[in-house]
């Protein structure tokens, strides 16, 4: 796997060590006024951005933490948080 991922605890490591956790979608919706449609969208709908995407990764062969990175899905390269804001 060509991907490298920078774990906030362990640093830049080989992509083999991580498991993908999906796009960043925010916390689980509130119970109040929750419609089945809204729930389904939360669980199943993805933006599938062609470009920089905020996403979750789990360091399974390392510290065992979940964290977010910014990755350009077209190049598979990570971006520093500052860079993406530009």
């Amino acid at each position: 796997m060509a991907l490298t991922i920078t774990c906030p605890i362990c640093g830049k490591r080989n992509g083999y060590e991580f498991r993908f956790g999906g796009e960043e979608k925010g916390p689980r919706p509130e119970e109040k006024d929750l419609t089945p449609q809204a729930w389904c969208d939360y669980v199943h709908m993805n933006k599938c951005v062609a470009g920089v995407q905020e996403e979750w990764w789990f360091h399974k062969d390392g510290c065992g933490s979940w964290f977010k990175i910014l990755r350009d899905t077209t190049t598979n390269l990570e971006q520093a948080a500052g860079e993406a804001a530009k």
Binding site: M1, A2, L3, T4, N14, R19, G21, G26, P27, R28, P29, E30, E31, L34, P36, W39, V43, W56, F58, K60, G64, S65, W66, T75, N76, L77
Partner: protein, 972 residues
Amino acid sequence: MNRLSQLPTLKIDTTQKLAFTYKEKTYFGAKGDTIASALFANGVRIFGRSLKYHRPRGLYSLDGECSNTCMEVDGVPNVRCENTSLEDGMIIKEQNVKGSAEYDMMGFLDKMDWAMPAGFYYNVMHKPAKIWPLAMKQIRKAAGLGKIAPDHEIPGKYDEIFLNTDVCVIGGGPAGMTAALAAAQKGLRVILMESRPWLGGCFEYRSREYQSRQTLHDRAVQLAKEVEKTENIRLFTHTSAVGTYNNNLVTGFQIGKKEDIFDQRYVEIRANSVISAAGAIERPLLFDNNERPGVMQAACALRLAKTYGQLPGKKAVFSVGHDFGLEAAIELHDLGLAIACVTDIREDGQNLELVKKIRNRKIPLLKGWVATKAHGMKTVKKISISTLDGQISKTFACDVIVASAGFTPVTGHITVNQGTLKYDSHTGAFLPDQMPEKMHAAGRVLGLEDPKSIEVSGKLAGLKAAFDCENCSIQELGDAKKELEALPGPARGSKLVTAPVKGRKTFICFDEDATIKNIKQAIEKGFDVPELIKRFTATGLGPGQGGIPGHNLPLFVAKYQALPDISIRPTNVRPPLVPTLIATYAGANHKMFKTTPMDEMQRKDGGIFRNIGVWQRARYFSNDFSSRKEIENVRNNVGMLDASTLGKFRIHGPDALKALQRVFVSDMSRVKQGRVKYSAMCNDDGCVIDDGVVIKQGENDYYFTTSTGRAGQTIEWIRYHTRYDGWDFALVNLTDSMGVINLSGPNARKVMEKVVDIDISNEGFGFAEYKTFNIADTIPVRAMRLGFVGELSYELHVPASYMKAVWIMLKDAGKEFNIRNFGVEAQNVLRMEKCHIILGQESEQRTNLLDVGLGFLWDRSKADAKTVGAVALRQAENDQTRFKLVGFKMENNGRAPRDGALVVDDKVRGYIATARDSFSLNEAVGMALVEAPLSKIGTRLEIFEDECGDDRIYGKVVAMPFYDPEGNRMKM
């Protein structure tokens, strides 16, 4: 075997003979030979037959650029003989022939080309429709190269190695070596990969002067020595780079030497900076019969002589388009090859010194002439040449045609890593345009041919790599750039693609038998870009990965469509850039299984082990795979099972309960100390993913088990579903540090009494209760009373290091009752009789909590959105289309169906999850997942087993559980 000797460039040792078998006869090659060079030395000119037309094929390149010399070696088909070293005792067979390579009964197909136009398998033989099934059989029989048995196990040892480095250099030629040296001198760690077994690249076999009193060969040796003695260069020879990826990952495979522990090794390198110095291959010249045995590339002819000590034939005609071709003609002439004529595609622009040398040797040199046809039924006998316009022609008798139109830089390593190429009208080649980040090209990849330029471009690339690693100044880079600019740039290349011929027998792709005519047909059909034509005609899809046609195809298409230069685009190449064995990717066959603390003892007791998930577990304890004795012993006496593979976790901290509430479907606040709570976890679709028991050890301190298969993902799962909450809890995976013994059967209490000091009467330690105590005042044990197998049973969780001791104590205590082991299969049947489910057995990915009848675990008062799976369960609750888990018995006391058999009527209605002939009940019972309408008690189930034809067996839905429905036995 007459070989040239005394050449400093030779890589063979003729004093050491290697015997090999070819067509059931013994031949001899020299040490250092490849299979192809040894066969050639023994007079073999036709190595095999081509894919489609069964045309004879011979030695064309020496680096495996086409499938011409792919043969079956020691039972392995499609071995690239040009770069596979000969070994003593090899058995070599030709492939894709009916008869022999010389006399192939399928050879008539060459005359049938009119019946096989481009893409014929897409557009002929399907009208009328009846023909296709017949035609398909014949086509399939004829298709493909080489034969292999489906159960063939590839011999050899395979390994893998993963490396990190500062700089990775692809290619051990002059540019690669100078690049590696430049980077190494900057103090960086360098890996140098070279696909041939030795360093030197295009310098290695040439006697041209490098500088006064030093040949290119001498220079190559000098550089190689320097590289070998540089400590921070790690050298991988006989290692082809097959892929480059972003973040500078380079993959390759290495062929082992005799003394290595592997035959082939997968190499994966993570580098800070990569240098591509893979050199160039020759662009084939296209003329009629341009692949007849006897036609070969200039470097092939020259290396055959200089590396392997044999002349390519008796009399040659050269048809080349570059100075290297002239150089090869001069060298081969001096080594004794008669040359009838040298034709150069170029009207002018030749190196004058080379022209003079040719004239001095009285070799006729025709400028602006080109080969038009190779004559000879099987091998070359004669050649026709003509002027470029085709007006004037001549013929010469010859047995070798050295043909080469130009050079093709090897740019695959750049483009697979998303670098781009641009057509360069000066060289006529595709040269690197935009390089991938931290990747640099050097040498002939840049179109350079001048030896000094090649080396300095290597040095510059080495310094650029050092700059990437912050070990080089801009000043130094600038100096190296200036040095390169002062030297000759890329040489002007010829642009000619085809001789003036019609092209019916002019092969642009050897591997797939694609001719110029085929390309024209494809274009006429409307495939207008090379990438589409490539697919329709299969040009470049063969094992050579476009090495032969990759450059000519886009040039020809552009010419045919009269396109301007700028619109010429190369076709894509993909990894692996060089054919690689899947076995090499798989690497060493490690036994990657975990063993429990009781592994050894259970093996001593006759356990028969199976790989189950990541574990090796004792599945049976006798050769009776129905496990009858083990089952009956648990039902009537007492047995013990090693259940150490269960996932075991501790969760503690201020927010531990909140985390459990999130992932478990039950209300975990109701877990009472001293009691065992059974619960399950779902995913967000309500599908049940895990079940286990939870124990409260203290306030916000819980111990819980998971199923064997889920243990690896449990921490990830819980952390994932609480990742936004910032809750404070710790999760500890105790799976490997704790072992579990399950002691089950009516006599279990009697055995326990002898081992533990606490009150274990039914009143003192009742069903579903949990206790901690020490055995022999030392060994801390967590004990639970559970009923998975349906009998009185104690589950003892013991630190792994004490497992043996407790196991032996229980065994000794049970001796008087004839205690015995039971395995996973016995447990499977026992729990099935009780209709206790195993997830993955009674469920699949789509099965939700309600389907398997565990809906009672779900606490509906918890907030749906805050409990994983609850929202989906609420929606699925009234869905009548879902599968239901049912129990069934077989009709007429029939046998049990196989697990996974289908429940059918006129279509599939469900499947059998687990079914066994039950000894406890004296009939066959099982559980099945069926559509809801079939789940009513009394419904007849029609069961379809694999290959049963029209014979069905029948079962009937009955109430669950089958054994001890009141559950008295586990509570006694």
